[in-house]
Chain length 342, copies 2
Amino acid sequence: MSTKNPRVAVVGATGAVGREMLKVLEQRDFPASEIVPFSSARSAGTKVPYKGEELTVIELKEDSFEGFDIALFSAGGGTSTKFAPIAAKAGCVVVDNSSAWRMDPKVPLVVPEVNPEDLEWHPGIIANPNCSTIQMVVALKPIHDEAKIKRIVVSTYQAVSGTGQKAITELETQVSRLFNGKDVVSDVYPHQIAFNCLPHIDVFEDNGYTKEEMKMVNETKKIMGDDSIKLTATAVRVPVFYGHSESVNIETEEKLTAVDCRNMLANFPGITVIDYPEKTHYPMAIDCAGEDDVFVGRIREDETIDNGINMWIVSDNIRKGAALNTVQIAETLIKRDLVRVK
Amino acid sequence: MSTKNPRVAVVGATGAVGREMLKVLEQRDFPASEIVPFSSARSAGTKVPYKGEELTVIELKEDSFEGFDIALFSAGGGTSTKFAPIAAKAGCVVVDNSSAWRMDPKVPLVVPEVNPEDLEWHPGIIANPNCSTIQMVVALKPIHDEAKIKRIVVSTYQAVSGTGQKAITELETQVSRLFNGKDVVSDVYPHQIAFNCLPHIDVFEDNGYTKEEMKMVNETKKIMGDDSIKLTATAVRVPVFYGHSESVNIETEEKLTAVDCRNMLANFPGITVIDYPEKTHYPMAIDCAGEDDVFVGRIREDETIDNGINMWIVSDNIRKGAALNTVQIAETLIKRDLVRVK
């Protein structure tokens, strides 16, 4: 492990996830010699808070990465496609939060609780998975290790913050206009999200599934390192600000009781089990917002198959689903001495 | 078929479903010689609108049913348990919207598009199924007839109107207080429903499932007349006013393509298929509110099993899920000459 602390670039520092990254770096007292925020020309000059100071956001350019050791990207697929290789070539290890590199076989796709060992073969870029996948695989991992997962049927209840700050504003504005008897305008989503459910996240593919649904299928296999896991998903946007919820039905090779599952999940890092239905204690989006863990509850046996389990998984999509997982990857890189600090 | 029109009692006429029943009776020009609204002593004297007039609600008593031919009940399980047998004994045919009689083997549980033939053996009481079950079985029926359903995994997205008028008010009040920086108070639900999802509808049973989830399991088998259909459910309340949505995964004995399903569903009475994802056309709660049909979309093959289909089912839980189905049962009773008009 290097004795020097890395110099860290945060790319996309003015977005919802970028700001949360700075907050997470501060809260976890990330061992950086310096943190420098970058953005597009449009947002450059903005001030962002970090450890009681205001950092000035710098315009991202091709020579921006000289002298940096780690670059945390959350600036959209276009920026990542162009700048991640440039940063890697300049000797940075890139942790990228876009979907640009996730399915590249040369790039590891990592959730530190699940497959930290995949960081060992990183080529200078590591991909952070999709938010709805991250929280699910954390809960799947101990079950898969113990009983081998054959098939998953998942339906999601996803918060608007997953789309970004403009979607948070759209939900707020729509609710406020409806309560004042005004017409609703939809710009970010194709339809009203206030008091509605949209069975549509990201674009539709030719097979009738959305890209979000197929991300859950493909990323799960890659992170778990097991192509035999079958998964079918329905991804739904709900009028919630923060916190994705997921209804997950799991079929395993070996029999697991609900008690087995509860114990295994409670002992796994990054998971909190909240499962006292008789006291109306179960995971909820409003409770998980701002928290680090993946929360699991409503754990019960599914008697319609030999080895079936239903569960309800909730996590803050901006933290564990994005910013926190990115920072945890960077922490694991340092701990495993996989960053060469210049 | 009787030449005389029946005299109809509407029990629980001041509640959300009772009021919708009067609206549906009026809209469909139900062939009644008279409609008389009843309620508990507390609400008696209230005026309810019907065909341009104001009907005065009468207090329900043990001798209320003399001279009536049909009684439509939507006044909770206690009232149904006590008064449905009294009405039946007085020569009324009762269509009951509570859960009191649904699983009684002597009482038919009917969705007119699915099992109208079960009306033939009614003993004076017919039960109207649970709202989340009704809309699902309408969509399941043509699939079961064609390809035999083996197993269903369903996750629901249920509107607050399913709980009644007080829950509609609670969601409104919570949203309004949050937008004014005030604390949220939860009376109807155990937790905040505004901008949240509650994996909890009705009470919890010993097996970890809620009563709502077990209603879907048991009522589906009874309505479809097939105990071999396996179903596992996760029932979730979402911050939507009107319209239940359901993500349904179906495994069939025979292979069905998405195109087969789309055609079969479109040709089935009471179903409208909305399934043009490339135009962002799919069923949504806000569009289905106030409509009669069950709306089905996102129909796609599930490749994780040999014969699998995913679909998204939406309907107005107060209309098809309650008031409309009750009135349709009464219409079918008349059409099949199963009401003896005095």
